[in-house]
Amino acid sequence: MKRLVHAELLKVGTTRLWIGLAIGGAALVAVASFAVLAVAGSAQGIASGLGAITSVADVQKLVWSGAAMSFFAVVLAATMATGEFRYGTIGATYLATPRRADVIASKLLAAIPLGAAFGLVGGALPLAIGLMWFAVKGEALPFGSGVPIAVAEVVLQCAYGAALAVCVGAAIRSQLVAILGLLGWSFVVEPLASALVPDIKPWTPTTGVPGAFGAPDPHVFGHAAAAALMVLYVLGALGIAVYLERRRDV
């Protein structure tokens, strides 16, 4: 399995997509961070819930804005699976590793650290920008144990998004359908279902359960329970992908 994971990482590393997504994601997070810092504490900011950054909790909110990076991690992870079908390299992959469950599992195991790396950029970048912003103003950014925890939460969210996306990509095979499907699920299906049946909201896999991390509001699940549910969702998605892929022709 180790060499298969290595092969998956080599596949990603030998194309430019990850660079484009990393730069795009970092740029978006940087712009968002500057925007937050610029309006925080202003009349406009206060009106939209962005008070002045004076506490560790405020810095956590800044760091959590880096969770936008998860979108880019999701696209990269989905492409790790769907790209093989798009370019026809899946034939060579299955010739080398006929056990398809191993192939999908290796993609999952490779997607998790890649998603985490994107998350680290997403979590650390707002913090770095905040530090510079405050340094330029001659002030110190409030810092406490909650700040690295917030960074870790962004890392976790991105890794989780990537893990789900690679399984969905393997199950759906089509790059466009997989990415649009994931976005549609997160931004349309889950919010709509949660609005219709509010009780299910904390249980939803892409917005509800991960909300136990990286959000100021108390969640019905503790961190341990939410993490366990996230693992279950990923394993469920993996199971579906393996079940479908083992029965399909290439």
Binding site: R3, L4, H6, A7, L10, K11, T14, T15, R16, L17, G83, Y87, G88, T89, G91, A92, T93, Y94, L95, A96, T97, P98, R99, R247, D249, V250
Partner: protein, 312 residues
């Protein structure tokens, strides 16, 4: 399946919905031989190879390599090298990167990538991205990937497509050496002359079903040699040849092909009839003749009534 069989296909059937792609196909590929896998477009050759390699599931029947399904082979790239039309390349990777990925996936030494690039004449393109490759270069890269594990069996789908003459000659010599060294090759091709020059045996399929299999000499003999006769007196000569036991068929160019009579006998009948002969020759059957005869491809087009018969 005998111990010497590298590949064994038994009653293999593959159905896509209502379409029958492979119909109870059975054949073997012995070790130490090159077996040509022939059939018209859509005959089911690629589908058979895909099922054999575990890329598609069989509806019924068996497709075994070295005694079992491909999926159960331990270190499959060390046993079987395959180059199928459906296997692609990421356009953004270099040739070496593609091969390194395959090496990692197959548990092979990454140094093999450079070895097979040299073997297939691709060493100068090792760092070139696949997006700039011609079809022939992609074929060479696919062959390079198939050879990475120094396999015992090669399964090649139209490998000569796109290769330049030097590449075709190299491929032919390589496959011959490979089989002579004890390996087995299953090669599908539309370039029948290429198959004829390198294959020991051929398997011909049409509409997914086996038409025939055997050595090339068996096939060409079965297709039948003929004596070609061109004469202005065919109206008289034809019934005489038929009375002598010959089977006479008109060729597209107006001559006749006489079967079941030796050339000397045809000459004697013509002399007895006082027929003038413009041509009398023995035509040996080629693999292409046999293929066309067996599959019904390239049947004689209907006579054009507006074209006058050639005058003597």
């Amino acid at each position: 399946m005998s111990p010497a069989d590298a590949i064994s296909i038994r009653e293999l059937t593959k159905r896509y919905g209502g379409r029958l792609a492979v119909d109870r196909l059975s054949f073997e590929v012995p070790l130490g031989t090159v077996t040509g896998f022939l059939g018209p477009n859509g005959a089911g050759k690629t589908t058979t190879m895909r099922v054999l390699l575990g890329l598609a599931s069989a509806t019924s029947g068996e497709a075994h390599i070295l005694g079992g399904p491909y999926e159960r082979l331990d270190a499959p790239l060390r046993r079987v090298g395959a180059a199928l039309e459906i296997t692609g390349f990421h356009p953004g990777r270099t040739a070496r990167e593609h091969l390194r990925v395959v090496c990692l996936q197959g548990g092979l030494d990454e140094g093999r990538a450079d070895a097979v690039l040299s073997l297939t004449g691709m060493q100068d393109y090792a760092r070139s991205k696949v997006r700039g490759f011609s079809f022939g270069m992609r074929q060479r890269l696919a062959l390079a990937a198939a050879l990475l594990g120094e396999p015992q069996i090669l399964v090649l789908d139209e490998p000569a497509n796109g290769l330049d003459p030097a590449g075709v000659a190299w491929l032919r010599a390589f496959l011959r050496r490979f089989a002579d060294g004890g390996g087995a090759v299953l090669i599908s091709s539309h370039i029948l002359s290429e198959v004829g020059e390198v294959a020991d045996r051929v398997v011909v399929i049409d509409r997914g079903a086996l038409v025939t299999q055997g050595s090339i000499s068996e096939l060409t003999t079965a297709a039948g040699e003929a004596v070609i006769v061109r004469s202005p007196d065919l109206e008289r000569l034809r019934p005489a040849l038929e009375r002598a036991g010959g089977s006479v068929a008109t060729e597209p160019d107006g001559s006749v092909a006489v079967r079941n009579l030796a050339i000397e006998e045809v000459g004697r009948v013509a002399a007895d009839e006082g027929a003038t002969l413009h041509e009398l020759r023995r035509r040996t059957s080629t693999l292409e003749d046999a293929f066309l005869a067996l599959t019904g491809e390239g049947a004689t087009p209907p006579a054009r009534p507006d074209v006058p018969e050639a005058s003597p």
